[in-house]
Symmetry: C2
Subunit: 148 residues, 2 copies
Amino acid sequence: MSDLGSALRAQGKRVTPQRRRILAAVTALAHATPDAVAKAVGEDGGVELPLSTIYRGLEVLEELGFVTHTHLDHHAPSYHLAEHATHIHLVCLGCGRVAEAEVEEAAGFTGNLRSRHGFDADVTHMAVHGWCADCAPDHGPHHGQGPG
Amino acid sequence: MSDLGSALRAQGKRVTPQRRRILAAVTALAHATPDAVAKAVGEDGGVELPLSTIYRGLEVLEELGFVTHTHLDHHAPSYHLAEHATHIHLVCLGCGRVAEAEVEEAAGFTGNLRSRHGFDADVTHMAVHGWCADCAPDHGPHHGQGPG
DNA sequence: TTGAATGCAAAAAATTTGCATATTG
DNA sequence: CAATATGCAAATTTTTTGCATTCAA
């Protein structure tokens, strides 16, 4: 972590062990729900923190730009280091694993969006759903079978 | 709507006015949360349906391939016609409006993912966040100010 | 008639809020 | 010492579930 302490101080906020622990947990987990962060904090630091502290901590961390969150699956929010957000998340609909692609790989695409729609895409927030190499063979059914 | 009746029948499911109304509401709204669907159903058809019926109806409709859902914002699920899902959603972080881009515009990108990651992307489920032409000038702060 | 769907209410989950106490600066 | 965070519990919000009744086939 670069400098949580001064970042907090710079905003007139306080440096607390809870905030450090939450950031440490997010760092270690890569992708985690608030609940998972709470669990991880407990295992690593001894005492588990209440969810409310996790939520508030995550909020501050996100405000400071240390973490970001996305909805990788369709239920829970997933928090991760902001540094990791510089990658595009490839979420497999089969096994649920999350791979990462470089932002540059979408350069042509974002260029199209900008020129044709005047839309400035922030692909660092993008999750692409699909099928990884391992699961590819399986997805015959339940796919592209729309009515129209 | 193509043929909800026979699609339901084909699955041994029943054709009910509630299901028709829910599909009609999703059709009319383009992007709607379960709650919004309930409201719309009420305004259009007279009696509002209980949320549980909305959820169950949406589930069946999704199962049949008539509707799909995505998390356009980071809180509520947004349901829309499956036909609409053949477009990529461009969600503006400024005004919240949702524009649509053609799947082909991402062809190069998905090609990259396939050749470089063996990942078969389903862009019809993709929501791209960013800034539309109108909001573009505003987003100086709160953007890319990470610590690293 | 028969089983699936609805409607209602209660149960679960997930997230937020109020407030006294503990901590940071 | 003053103000912010925490911890706990209660309150919200969102989604799911149980079950008797209604309705489609």
